[in-house]
């Protein structure tokens, strides 16, 4: 079973003449352990898709299923619970709290969720160590590089042990080298640690780390390229041709 499934997912902003269709009947499926990049020109609906999958926003039509459960049938409380337990978010800006150390920042969300602080810090330290920050646990954000801060942010997203990580332009605020490091780290999150990652990016270099790229344009899926299967790109292209003809 797919971890994520969208069914005719549609989101319209505004009404009447000014209405903008951000997503137009989008059907995608993401498998467990997959690393998927979502690409497309600005305004194509990339971030909207991510927000709807993460239950941060509700669609006008259609549905998102996480592990088969329809988000549309959940009330706000249930949605919040699902978000906290199953989904971790990573954004372009790291949003670390300046007065807290790396380990305190990473531990914060689960501490707020009622996990004992000692246990939360233990888990946070484990993730930070896996991400090569074992000797920087007590550093404050201003003592860390951009790339290191983003690693703390990824660790923070993982401390609640979610199945799914949603990343919105996670390398948008980083130089090329740190960007590559974060993309490679997100790949590890899927390949070494068995999580699923859906990442929105406009950067081809970063998208190349994924298993599969979904291309959106004007709110619709226009193409998918499976990078892990050799020759898959050509297969998809010829299939698209069949459909088109």
């Amino acid at each position: 079973m797919s971890l994520i499934q969208t069914e005719n997912l549609t989101k319209i902003y505004g009404a009447g003449e000014a209405a903008v269709t951000a997503l137009d009947h989008v059907n995608i499926a993401v498998n467990e352990g997959e690393f998927v990049a979502v690409m497309g020109p600005s305004g194509c609906g990339k971030s909207t898709l991510l927000h709807l999958i993460g239950g941060l926003d509700r669609p006008n039509e259609g549905n998102v299923r996480i592990e088969g459960v329809a988000l549309a049938e959940m009330d706000d409380d249930a949605l919040t619970k699902l978000r906290r337990q199953k989904i971790g978010f990573v954004f372009q800006f790291f949003n670390l709290i300046p007065v807290l150390t790396a380990v305190e920042n990473a531990a914060l969300p689960v501490t707020l969720d009622g996990v004992k602080p000692s246990e939360a810090k233990k888990r946070a330290a484990e993730w930070l160590t896996r991400f090569g920050l074992g000797d920087r646990l007590a550093a404050r954000p201003d003592q860390l590089s951009g790339g290191q801060q983003q690693r703390v942010a990824v660790a923070r997203a993982l401390v609640s042990e979610p199945a799914l990580i949603l990343a919105d332009e996670p390398t948008g605020n980083l130089d090329t080298r740190s960007g590559d490091e974060i993309a490679s780290l997100l790949r590890d999150v899927t390949k070494k640690y068995g999580r699923t990652v859906v990442m929105v990016t406009h950067d081809p270099r970063i998208a190349a780390y994924a298993d599969r790229i979904i291309f959106l344009k004007d709110g619709k899926v226009v193409d998918e390229t499976n990078l892990e299967r050799k020759g898959a790109a050509d297969q998809i292209a010829s299939k698209m041709k069949e459909i088109g003809d």
Binding site: P41, S184, P204, R205, A207, A208, Y209, A210, I213, F215, V222, D223, T225, L227, K230, A232, A233, D234, I236, A237, M240, K241, G244
Partner: protein, 208 residues
């Protein structure tokens, strides 16, 4: 660019025999798949370089059961040629782009949908980008920085190609609306009597 200058450079490092030269060349350019050079090409190049006096050759009699091998070394004129080559800048080659030709042919002939061509090509480029990224990831920065540098160059070029595809996609309609480049017509065959003029400048084509 020539294999010959690379050979001169490799011989400047130390004298080598043909087989060793080929292996060293492949290591420098980043593997067989990056730039395949057949053994025959190495040997013909070496022969020419020897004829031109740029390299010298001695026979190594081989120890024990080993067969004799020809060992090549850099001669003074070779060193001169190498240093001239190194001193020159390199003109980049951006022309002869097969995909561009395909796109224009598709636009002109209507035999294929240019938007599909762009999508297919984008898939190809992403596959390539993914493969190169995976290879670069496998390189050790402590020992293989030269390989990483070469892969980074290829990756950056692919990124530029992908950006160009986006631009091409956006401008497809505009290109479609404009007349495609047409050659100016030239009269063929023997000029009619009394016409002694050359075909230059070519006559203005009559609009049909």
């Amino acid at each position: 660019m020539s294999v010959r200058h690379a050979i001169l450079g490799l011989l400047a490092q130390k004298p080598r025999h043909g087989y060793e030269l080929r292996a060293a060349f492949e290591a420098v350019v980043g593997g067989e798949e990056a730039w395949e050079v057949k053994p025959a090409q190495i040997y013909t190049t070496l022969e020419r370089l020897e004829e031109a006096g740029l390299v010298t050759c001695v026979s190594d009699l081989g120890e024990g059961a080993e067969p004799a091998r020809r060992i090549y070394a850099l001669a003074e004129p070779g060193r001169q040629a190498l240093s001239e080559w190194l001193a020159e800048g390199v003109t980049p080659t951006h022309q002869r782009d097969e995909f561009f030709v395909k796109l224009i042919v598709a636009l002109a002939s209507g035999e294929s949908d240019p938007a599909h061509l762009i999508q297919t090509q984008r898939g190809r480029l992403y596959q390539e980008l993914h493969d190169l990224t995976t290879r670069r990831e496998a390189c050790n920065p402590q020992t293989e920085m030269a390989q990483i540098l070469l892969l980074d160059k290829a990756i950056m070029h692919l990124e530029a190609d992908l950006r160009w595809l986006d631009i091409a996609e956006q401008r497809l309609e505009e290109v479609r609306r404009q007349p495609l480049p047409e050659p100016e017509l030239r009269r063929r065959g023997r000029p009619p009597k009394g016409d002694k003029g050359s075909t230059y400048p070519p006559p203005v084509p009559v609009n049909s």
